[in-house]
Symmetry: C2
Subunit: 112 residues, 2 copies
DNA sequence: TCGTTGTTCAACCATGTGGTTTATAATGCA
DNA sequence: TGCATTATAAACCACATGGTTGAACAACGA
């Protein structure tokens, strides 16, 4: 179900290392070693993060010789964004109220 | 930093119980008991989820007599959505291809 | 005042997470 | 062939998470 995909997607995104890896992949496909290199952690540690991203469907891997090339698969991000879009009306209502309050304030105190 | 807020926001959203609680709050403010009631878990369990949502800044609580009324605070959702919007170009490339294919199909079969 | 209700807190448990190290494979190259 | 590179897997550690129970506290109503 989509609900379960949201679980794993949000879970995968809840870590700055993994978000960094996604950003890195946005610039081009990379191997696990290249993905982990900026993060001052062991190769095995980086590989675990890659595995989380992969099982969340956010990346796919294909073998190229002895390397594993990872590529971005943004579809789950899209689902997550669609879910978040649900809430847009809530923050826009607040913004409207805020603007109304500011307008009211201006009318009452025009020289502030 | 915003990065840390993303951590806690995505972490809070990575659980169906908590997403359900947010959806419930979208319909109106609720007490902890009311929030937890649909989820077949102990009150203390529900209160833990509420605490996670609160420390992620997604809800705020105020005392009303002996009850704790929780209200939605959607701002962190907005930040999360803004982060996800970054990636739109990646899936829109794919969508463009899909739309082009559909257009092509319509031209060839105009009476579908 | 007393009981009921809503909540908080601490302790506990099983499991998951983020990280390590180490060993073991698989591949490419001199 | 032998060695360096890249990845995988397993074992381990400290800590967080999701859940429980039970005790205590605060506030409302009879």
């Amino acid at each position: 179900m989509v609900e379960q995909r949201l679980d794993t997607t949000f879970r995968a995104l809840a870590d700055p290392t993994r978000r960094g890896m996604l950003a890195s992949l946005a610039l081009g496909d990379k191997s696990i070693g290249e993905l982990g290199e900026p993060f001052a952690m062991s190769f095995a540690g980086a590989a675990k993060h890659v595995k989380v991203l992969e099982s969340a469907g956010l990346i796919e891997r294909c073998k190229a010789g002895r390397r594993q090339i990872c590529a971005l698969r943004p579809e789950p991000l899209r689902e997550a964004e669609a879910w978040l879009k649900q809430w847009e009306k809530f923050w826009s209502v607040r913004l409207d109220r805020l603007e109304a309050a500011i307008d009211r304030d201006k009318k009452e105190n025009p020289n502030d």
